[in-house]
């Protein structure tokens, strides 16, 4: 374990450029370069559970493919467990587990259990270990009734759980999940999240997770990285996202009678976003205290009730993505 004690996954200025050819007019062809990953650097320590989010086409899947060795980087450096993935792909393979929400790693025509048996042999998992891991996954992911069903007959959510189990039978040190909750119902999502949390806690498995469901991140990850256009926009705690995203809290006031939108002199950062009869919504910067604001409103208007709403992560992220798109 020496040498990799600090960072388990290391990226330094990692780049992936795709040449995309397309036809212009009838005969001419034009080659355009898509910088899918454009100089990303980060480090993930052993045992961390990190969310990797960003809008469509941000470069998340491309990053994960370079971390597994499927794609060879165009520039920069990447190491996983001290191994250069694209150069020593087969050696790295037994140390990582991968789940692509969009694509199964199972044998399409075989019953689930046969895929697991093949993995057992291919990864040379000791028999006892294999049984133990399989039993655990079957129980926690509710696969009992599905083991003898051919993979192509499984529903999306069933297949996804089957895929997660398959990725873990060989005790990988790190698990990459690319949209593992896509298309899952509420109960399956909860189940998968609980399973991942236990896995990370009990086994110390390092997890890197991409998703468009921010609840996954809120419930699982203390650290989150946001990327867009192949660049890292944010890397830090979930709470810090609010500051980084310049988010707002909302003061909801119920007045005694209907009134025109509240206006406070020399408070340009406070504005009414919505009026519903006697109820008014005032947005103000999240890093400001609500108390002085409440006092000023109460002095000028007769109040019946009030509450403060914290910004939700969805809107923070949406704002962040939006700003990038404008830039």
């Amino acid at each position: 374990m020496h040498g990799e004690a600090g960072a388990f996954i290391e990226l330094d200025g990692l780049e992936k450029v795709f040449d995309v050819r397309r036809r212009v007019g009838r005969f001419r062809r034009e080659t355009r370069q898509v910088r899918a990953v454009d100089g990303i650097s980060f480090r993930v320590a052993r045992g961390e559970m990190v969310g990797y989010i960003g809008p469509n086409g941000a470069g998340k899947s491309t990053t994960i493919k370079m971390l597994t060795g499927i794609l060879t980087p165009s520039g920069g450096r990447v190491r996983v467990a001290g191994i250069d993935p694209s150069r020593e792909r087969t050696r790295l393979a037994s140390r990582i587990g991968v789940v692509f929400g969009q694509r199964t790693t199972l044998w399409w025509d075989l019953p689930l259990i046969d895929s697991y048996r093949l993995a057992h042999r291919m990864y040379r998992v000791p028999d006892a270990r294999f049984r133990e891991n399989l039993d655990r996954c079957v129980e926690l992911l509710g696969l009992g009734d599905l083991l003898h069903v051919a993979v192509r007959q499984l529903s999306l959510g069933q297949r996804m759980r089957g895929d997660i189990a398959a990725a873990l039978l060989h005790d990988p040190d790190v698990l990459y999940l690319d949209e593992p909750t896509i298309g899952l119902d509420v109960i399956s999502k909860t189940r998968v999240r609980e399973f991942l949390r236990d896995l990370n806690r009990d086994r110390g498995t390092t997890v890197l997770l991409t998703t468009h469901d921010l609840q996954d991140i809120e419930q699982l990850c203390r650290r989150v990285m946001v990327i867009d256009h192949g660049r890292l926009l944010y890397d830090g705690g979930l709470a810090g996202l609010h500051e980084a995203g310049g988010s707002e809290r909302v003061l909801v006031v119920d007045l005694e009678h209907e009134a025109p939108p509240i206006e406070l002199a020399d408070e340009p950062s406070v504005r009414v976003t919505r009026v519903e009869g006697t109820r008014q919504y005032l947005a103000f910067p999240a890093d400001r205290s609500a108390a002085p604001l409440v006092a000023r409103v109460a002095a000028a208007y007769p109040l019946v009730d009030l509450s403060v709403r914290e910004p939700d992560i969805e809107s923070v992220i949406a704002k962040m993505y939006g700003e990038r798109a404008d830039a």
Partner: protein, 254 residues
């Protein structure tokens, strides 16, 4: 897995194997038909041509049995399902070969072996230990040379679409070429088959040595012994090209 499921459909297995056998046997029937009209083909007797035919077909049959399914790599490259093979701790080529190990392709080996057995019994050659040893050696090294061609063909599927046809021109086309004496073909073709894609080392060079005939292109007899070295070199080169191919794999956007 492949074998088991193939054997489960016993009937269709028997049918396709027989079909394959019949299709390849047709090649040799063509040769027999020619010999009903002429006494020699390019100065070679029927047993001599049968020797060329048997060695080339057996060598190719062995390789086709193992590597035949590499043609399908192209479609996996295009639809991105190669991703899954790249995630597993085994070489991609081994996985592709094992995935659809086509037992039905055994027909070609059986047929080539039978013709080779006939040739060995009927051909009029003064056998010595070196010549006897040369026969299995040339089948083996010939198989490796074909394997290298298969691998290079598979690697090109990373860069270009529809190269499968070009590949089969060299593999299936190559065997057919080697079933006939080199004297029947233009010099440039024989040169190409010696120096560019060295199929001549599958059987022409070593077989003509065994048959005590002058080697093509006026090569000295010693060249026949280069076959194993050429085979190893081809495989090393093919491995290099394959690695380059994998490194330029781009997967798909989703």
């Amino acid at each position: 897995m492949g074998i088991r499921s193939q054997l489960t459909y016993r009937l269709s297995f028997a049918a396709t194997t027989f079909g394959n056998l019949a299709a390849t046997a047709f090649d040799f029937v063509t040769i027999l038909l020619m010999f009903s009209q002429v006494r020699a083909l390019g100065g070679f007797s029927l047993p001599e041509v049968a020797f060329l035919y048997g060695t080339s077909t057996t060598a190719f049959g062995l390789t086709d049995l193992v590597m035949g399914s590499t043609e399908r790599i192209g479609s996996r490259v295009r639809d991105g399902t190669l991703d899954v093979l790249l995630l597993r701790p085994a070489p991609v080529l081994a996985q592709v070969a094992a995935d659809r190990f086509a037992l039905r392709r055994i027909g070609r080996i059986v047929q080539g072996g039978a013709v080779l057995a006939y040739a060995l019994a009927a051909v009029d050659v003064d056998w010595d230990p070196v010549r006897v040893a040369m026969v299995p050696l040339m089948v083996l090294s010939g198989g490796l040379i074909f394997a290298a061609v298969f691998v290079v063909g598979a690697a090109f599927q990373f860069w270009a679409q529809d190269v499968a046809e070009v590949q089969s021109a060299f593999t299936y086309g190559g065997t057919t070429l080697l079933q006939y004496p080199p004297g029947l073909f233009a010099k440039d073709l024989v040169r190409g088959a010696t120096f560019v894609v060295p199929l001549a080392f599958v059987n022409w060079m070593p077989a003509l040595y065994v048959l005590r005939r002058p080697l093509p292109l006026g090569m000295p007899d010693g060249v026949a012994f280069l076959a194993p070295a050429v085979a190893v070199l081809c495989c090393a080169l093919a491995g290099l090209v394959w690695r380059l191919g994998i490194r330029s794999y781009r997967s798909t956007g989703s």
